[in-house]
Symmetry: C2
Subunit: 206 residues, 2 copies
């Protein structure tokens, strides 16, 4: 699956017709309704989604090329994470990126729907691969773009690989959100991580 | 399970008798043999371990209070990770700690036994809790001790919580070993992470 397809899958190709967006929303809401009723992901076929939303299967396949892509958008809706980069500085963009990880972690703790769907996606290699390709990888690529821009601007050291730098910023937040479900995720954590990693841990810094 | 029990479980209470250590080793090797033969963890009871090692069940229970503790030692043996802190500086100790995470990650990729046992432990809440208590938590506590000492020595900024600092160092390595099985884990990665987090990412540092 390439990026163009992902864009189309998220409605990129059919946007502009308001009716189409509302159809899309009602399909996603239909899936969320099924999940809230306790129907396992594995039992939600495109056919069942079509029946629930009162549309034809072709209407669904025009928007998502397969179940996996549809569920990624369902997951996005359940997590309600909206990522917007302020673009004011590398620091501010990095904080926004880490804040989106924190919010996703909080959603996963407070919304049993988000938690449940994510757990089910994790246990299916095919669904997890789609989630990784549609949600995780694009965020990593965006982080690397932000860092490369920061290196060009002189805001970030340019002697290090952006892959490594990306992990230095995202790693601490991911460890708390994904690996330690009981770790604290206080307001301001994104800012604290970004500023500390920028300034370093030697005394007299920061 | 408290720490004293864990110590006793690892043979702390019975050490000093060489014969006892060799019994312990043969029990662990017996379990590893079963796993190498493809026997699932769930089918390995204390009774079966006793039969395999040619000892009585009481001999096993003198060393490990339950299956979970025994499997944690099996996991340690499979991972072959030996953590020794050099004690020469906070930086060197942190590198040793991160290097042990890297080696565990490498073992999990190259040893199908370690990978398989870890996957089975993850899918059992009881086993995972034991692994967390016996392997992960002690390493986190040790990291916090090293950092507290570093703050007292003036090697590390003392205005930040050691929990957060610990995640800044361990997070990037854990993300690569645990969450992204295809990420690179090159020699020298532990050193690179520790030095970069110590010096910070602003230009002109490091």
């Amino acid at each position: 699956m390439d990026l163009a397809e992902q864009g189309a899958g998220r409605g990129g190709a059919v946007r502009g017709r308001p009716r189409s967006e509302s159809v899309e929303r009602s399909i996603i809401e239909g899936v969320i309704g099924l999940l809230e009723d306790g129907v396992p992901l594995a039992e939600i076929s495109i056919e069942r989604v079509a029946r629930t939303a009162g549309v034809g299967k072709a209407t669904i396949y025009r928007r998502w090329s397969n179940r996996e892509e549809l569920f990624c958008d369902v997951m996005r809706a359940a997590e309600q994470v909206d990522l917007k980069l302020p673009g004011t500085s590398t620091r501010d963009d990095l904080i926004a990126l880490l804040e989106s990880i924190r919010r996703r972690g909080l959603a996963n703790r407070t919304s049993s729907l988000a938690h449940n769907v994510l757990a089910q996606m994790k246990s299916s290699p095919k669904l997890w691969k789609a989630y990784d390709a549609n949600v995780i990888e694009p965020r990593r690529r965006l982080t690397h773009e932000v860092l490369r821009r920061g290196q060009q601007n002189g805001e970030i050291r340019s002697d290090l690989d952006v892959e490594l730098i990306g992990d230095l910023f995202a790693g601490p937040m991911l460890v708390r959100t994904v690996m330690r479900p009981d770790a604290e995720l206080p307001d301001g954590l994104a800012e604290e991580i970004v500023d500390t990693v920028l300034e370093g841990l030697r005394p007299g810094k920061g």
